[in-house]
Symmetry: C3
Subunit: 464 residues, 3 copies
Amino acid sequence: VAWGPNTNIKWSLPAVCFVWQLSMIILFGVFVRYNEESDTHWVDYRKENNITSDIENDYYFRYPSFQDVHVMIFVGFGFLMTFLKRYSFGAVGFNFLVAAFGIQWALLMQGWFHSLDYTDGKIKIGIENLINADFCVAGCLIAYGAVLGKVSPVQLLVMTLFGVTLFAVEEYIILNVLHAKDAGGSMVIHTFGAYYGLSISWVLYRPNLDKSKHLNGSVYHSDVFAMIGTLFLWMFWPSFNSAIADHGDGQHRAAINTYLALASTVLTTVAMSSLFEKTGKLDMVHIQNSTLAGGVAVGTAAEFMLSPYGSLIVGFFCGIISTLGYIYFSPFLEEKLKIQDTCGIHNLHAMPGVIGGIVGAISAAAATNTVYGDLGLENTFDFTGPFAKRVPTIQGGYQAAGLCVALCFGIGGGIFVGLVLKLPIWGDPADENCFDDEIYWEKCTISKQSSHMPLISPLWEVSM
Amino acid sequence: VAWGPNTNIKWSLPAVCFVWQLSMIILFGVFVRYNEESDTHWVDYRKENNITSDIENDYYFRYPSFQDVHVMIFVGFGFLMTFLKRYSFGAVGFNFLVAAFGIQWALLMQGWFHSLDYTDGKIKIGIENLINADFCVAGCLIAYGAVLGKVSPVQLLVMTLFGVTLFAVEEYIILNVLHAKDAGGSMVIHTFGAYYGLSISWVLYRPNLDKSKHLNGSVYHSDVFAMIGTLFLWMFWPSFNSAIADHGDGQHRAAINTYLALASTVLTTVAMSSLFEKTGKLDMVHIQNSTLAGGVAVGTAAEFMLSPYGSLIVGFFCGIISTLGYIYFSPFLEEKLKIQDTCGIHNLHAMPGVIGGIVGAISAAAATNTVYGDLGLENTFDFTGPFAKRVPTIQGGYQAAGLCVALCFGIGGGIFVGLVLKLPIWGDPADENCFDDEIYWEKCTISKQSSHMPLISPLWEVSM
Amino acid sequence: VAWGPNTNIKWSLPAVCFVWQLSMIILFGVFVRYNEESDTHWVDYRKENNITSDIENDYYFRYPSFQDVHVMIFVGFGFLMTFLKRYSFGAVGFNFLVAAFGIQWALLMQGWFHSLDYTDGKIKIGIENLINADFCVAGCLIAYGAVLGKVSPVQLLVMTLFGVTLFAVEEYIILNVLHAKDAGGSMVIHTFGAYYGLSISWVLYRPNLDKSKHLNGSVYHSDVFAMIGTLFLWMFWPSFNSAIADHGDGQHRAAINTYLALASTVLTTVAMSSLFEKTGKLDMVHIQNSTLAGGVAVGTAAEFMLSPYGSLIVGFFCGIISTLGYIYFSPFLEEKLKIQDTCGIHNLHAMPGVIGGIVGAISAAAATNTVYGDLGLENTFDFTGPFAKRVPTIQGGYQAAGLCVALCFGIGGGIFVGLVLKLPIWGDPADENCFDDEIYWEKCTISKQSSHMPLISPLWEVSM
């Protein structure tokens, strides 16, 4: 096996890791401190503010959800991408690297926009910041799905640096300037992340990618590994969509809506997968991915009074659309639009994300005092302060505007970053070496061995 | 490889999925709404009821346990069944499908019996309903274990439709009519589910199943995948048994009792497994399954004052009995009683479930005011309202009656549903195609390949 | 394949399991009861103590963290050790056995030291005891990493019996006598456990271990299985370090510090791994292990005001040191010091643990009233009762003393237990049978099959 000398990342990867990590330390030193709930002064703060119990600390409202989200980011995204027969190290390992960098950079970028204490110029962090950092990284990991197997870890780090930056800005515009709501991030995370990744993949189009076609597929047990990712994403999605929702009914309702939307999606995904095969067999690709579309699409509206059947309806259509996407749209994307999308993020994140934004806009516009209650309406949409006079119909318009912002940032940012990544300095693999762990990982070279010894090991083939 | 044309489920599977999912949407539209803790009116409800903090929302008492239970249902049950060398897709995938449908139908069925608001005829759901739906589905997934590899996904869906229905009725009789307690579901979930599955398997007996004997076993790594299921079930079982227990000491005690019973089971399982092999080797089947028996058996009594050593004793005997079941009773069941039990649910759920019911009855009958305290006794057994005059000894009798109800529903329901599933319309595999993913899954056909190319891939055999 | 007749554990393993489990039941019967928060008298206790809500039960403060820790113990440690190509059953299975015994013995040992109610001579247990039992077992599982593949399950149980006992004593000395703080157990768990295991491995040195060299390594998918362990350890480490920290800001801050330290470690681990390979490739051994070093090292200081950038700095250096350990120090340990350390626990637990103890001592000594607040300082370091007059600088000295105690107990205890394990009665494998599941597990014998049939199964090599 030959590969271009350019996949040597012996200097670039360590350099990027060291320099960026040192920068994080310096920036954290200058800017980041504990907030009043994670600082030892909490004990004074409690007394001053008549908080009766430690359990009122935001930590207890959000920590269980945080840990679930954390699992989604590292095990969910990581293992979902292990489906390729020969890229499991890259899937899990680079996902790990990119997310570990991204959460630090996100704490800073989101901190400057959302958690800056103007009295001392410091970012004050607590559990909600950790969740938001994980969310921010999710956008970049979605984008990774489009370029899986075709880029170097250095490129992934660059993608993440820019991705987190763009994310923080679009999030600020959508949530703060437009005052749109997006608890589960259909727009902010999924739409942005998916179009960011697709645009990058478009710019990095490889006309001769079929040279590594033999590795661009799964084997039996790599599909089983991928199901670990699928299931942890599916199971913990209610935590994802409720993690930063309002205390009390907000978190409660977001979890219920997501639980239901996801259940519905599974059935229509199975139905469509079976319907489009000769003898009604199921395709693992659909089960691994399209079953999750309902969680994406219910993200924005999860904390609204979408009602249980509303959630089921959203899930119902997303299972159908996402599976059809894998069957018809992915080949079209690749052949006509020249977008090579390894994991099919267009079907799992882009389309369901846009649907989620639209569902959010419609359900916000349709909100009434009867359904929500006066206080409930004010609470759910935060019609307070400068937004005290906003009404649901107007809110619906701002929600739609938010969706456009996410799309623009995703596409525009993706094209820009794609051009940066096209520079011939990042150590990406040649076409014939894509989807192969051998390029970036030690001790998994099969080529040398295969020339002088039989490669069949009896070790894993026992008790048949 | 030849299989009957009847395994074509191209129309039946999509039809069932679509029609049933549409029915769910309609029924949810008519019947299901948020309850007062997941509705935006919570903010008003809080004020009216002087609830001092959002953290008093039931969501915060139960959400962590809910997510653990959710993992048990989808990863625990799913991966536990991946032990077969060639049925991992069916194990994880059909488990996923069946559970996703079952939780919706369970929300309705259990809702009508337990959460119907008579003022407006609506089912009002919150986090506890989601947990109960997961519990209800657990009964059907246990039953799946008996028929694993021998039925079509359409049959599994039919099994689940009836299973959930029967479950909701027996649960209503046991918990509401008899007023028995069963926090961890030894009777309601495990006894019912196991006898339901065993009865179905008895009706569907295949005399020539040894035609697919070569696939009815594990390989090295399928056993490792199965350990993922085992461990997530084992670790989260304290959450399972405490998820719907009383707030405060009830949940606390249920978690402790389950933790201890399970620890004890592991040691006696290992002891028995080693004792019955020539050189003291361990059998993975026992480690994967019998180690969980203590969790089943401590289900009913988990919230009682079973005391820590009581829990250890329950676990001690269950490890022994369950392992002996795999060694002696499973062959007997198959040869003499004509019950083919793929996963050995008789040893993991049926016997421990019955033991759990008996332990529950005895420990309820033995409850005293000295041990529980007056208030504690009333709280634990809910001796209020129409049951205010019930005493522990009587309660013990009702507990025993509950066990009988679970048994009757399991056996009777199973025989009926077995007969329904015997109809030659469900696309089940021929005897020689059992335990083979090839029948229902795309891209895992080995037969064609094996005829014209060497099947040995070097890809997974590296760095030896 | 030949092995010594001494690997027959048909009598010793069942005997140890039964006798020890029976002893546990008797000792629990005599000593262990529920504490006031898990007993039905909680309802009275609440009223008497004006506790306004059930949510004030310690269960709700700690249960989510407990379950995360539980996952780390059983899935995290278990799967991390599956990296060996042919010892996955032993890794996951013996880890399971040892931990299940250890938590029971730990509840007793730690209970006598920490939770004995002197009014009735009973140990009163609640959720915090379960967490501490898991912690205690973690020390023994760390030690298992050094001897993985080279000892019998009986030896492991003996190791655990003594390990838990030694742990409870050193913990008592460090936390109670010296009044050092060690929320995440850098000293108490990691330093002790690692040196305990390394000392045992030193005493059990096998000069001819290279006879089983061919099995002392990984294959592609065993490395993927190991990543399950790595990631669950990494993700849930914030729960580990915060599980028994102070309510409120203590738990909150411990989670943040650990999250940050771990993120930082990933980047420097990747950097070092890449830097020391010819073409910048990564080594899975480093990614699986060194990425966790930051969590170890931030254990003691996690609940202190280490500040976010302080955590990043700790993680930064630990990634470097731990990876260098794998590259340079492990070979040195084996060749010069005759310590065979299968999993490299010296690099993952010993060095980072010592660093953690030192960081803890320094940050305690540097604590000021300005940073902590008067109340915060008193709370964080528990400067109350007999320790009311202690000041930070003195506390720093006691922290350092604690580290020495952990080291002494680890090394001294390990040498003693190593000598016990050297007795020729424990059924350990011959040098040529190390790292081989075949010795202790049924149905994974490859030798007999290989003599009369081709061992290549097509089953796992499909859809290429």
